[in-house]
């Protein structure tokens, strides 16, 4: 009886491990609609943090889900699966570039340049401008529109 219980326990644990492994192996990136932002910040403030101390800002933001609010400076549709919302001030070259989640492209229909939005996405890093011609950018991907305001 005892032996049987042990066998059942082993079988149960093995099954659990296999199921967990299978799910983990096939896991896809989560839709950020269902993920809470770790930080909420304005485009200006986060740009300043990165410009001031990239290393420190990377430690805080890199790879994290962040909600960034700002004015839409441009909407760049690069191909049918990819659109980038550029948040930032007209007068500055620097910006926060938000690559939209390809499953949420329909939000583009209701977005216009100049509008204020809050975008939730993952901070993928800071591209400091070395040429002096392009402006430095914070990049985000898998972005969704959190709210229009």
């Amino acid at each position: 009886m005892k032996k049987r219980n042990i066998l059942i326990a082993i079988a149960f644990i093995t099954t659990c491990a296999a199921v967990y492994g299978f799910i983990e192996y096939n896991r896809v990136a989560k839709d950020l609609i269902y993920v809470k932002a770790k930080f909420t910040v304005s485009a200006e403030a986060i740009m300043e943090s990165f410009a001031k101390d990239e290393l420190k800002a990377n430690k805080q933001y890199l790879g994290r889900v962040v909600a960034v609010s700002g004015n839409i400076r441009a909407i760049e549709a690069t191909d049918k699966n990819n659109s980038i919302l550029v948040l930032g001030d007209e007068t500055s070259l620097s910006s926060v570039r938000c690559s939209l989640d390809s499953t949420h492209m329909n939000v583009l229909q209701n977005l216009h340049t100049g509008e204020k939005v809050t975008v939730k996405g993952i901070i993928t890093g800071y591209n400091a401008d070395e040429t002096g011609l392009l402006g430095s950018d914070i990049q985000m991907n898998r972005c969704i529109i959190n709210s229009k305001k």
Binding site: Y25, V28, K30, G63, I84, S99, T124, G125
Partner: protein
């Protein structure tokens, strides 16, 4: 009066020509692909910065490693944490030159084969790289593309021994950037 107009026209023409020497994008594509017995590894980054100077032939690319998107999240986690260590080395860069830039005529439509040589930096290591590419001019629009392969060991990217036979030691990289004129 005519002379003034001519000088003004010449000046404007020169400015216009100068303005068209530099091209750039911030939304270029880099894909990488590696075929392996167990499964293929594939990822794409759609936020590549590229600057091309058609006069000097200087060409630069910058890419943020965390911006590579995989279908499988676990693969993406492993890529960032174990392979390229993107917390420590967030950026990849290429700085180089198109060696045969003189063969490129930016005012004429066509596909121009180019040879690029320069330094590729990633995972904190810089190596000389040579690659063949193509500059395409179509209706005044310029795009740059290239396919090349790198060895993971060149960049000190270690493959855990457990999966050594399941991961290819070379990675094929495809670069594709539609460029715009850069107005200073």
């Amino acid at each position: 009066m005519k002379k003034v107009l001519f000088t003004a026209a010449l000046f404007l023409a020169t400015v216009a020509l100068q303005a068209q020497e530099k091209y750039f994008t911030k939304s270029g594509n880099i894909k990488f692909f590696s075929k392996a017995p167990l499964e293929n590894i594939e990822a794409v980054n759609r936020s590549v910065t590229c600057v091309l100077d058609t006069k000097t032939g200087d060409i630069q690319f910058a890419v943020l490693m965390k911006g590579f998107e995989f279908v499988k999240a676990l693969m993406q986690d492993h890529f960032n944490e174990n392979y390229v260590e993107s917390d420590k080395f967030p950026k990849g860069e290429f700085k180089g030159q198109i060696e045969n830039i003189s063969s490129l005529n930016i005012t004429q439509d066509g596909a121009y084969p180019v040879n690029v040589a320069g330094q590729l930096t990633m995972h904190g290591i810089t190596k000389d790289v040579k690659a063949d590419g193509k500059i395409i001019v179509q209706n005044g629009k310029v795009s740059a593309s290239s396919d090349f392969a790198i060895l993971l060991s060149d960049y000190d990217i270690k493959i855990p021994s457990l999966v050594e036979n399941n991961i290819s030691k070379t990675i094929n990289i495809n670069v594709n950037c539609a460029l715009e004129t850069l107005n200073k």
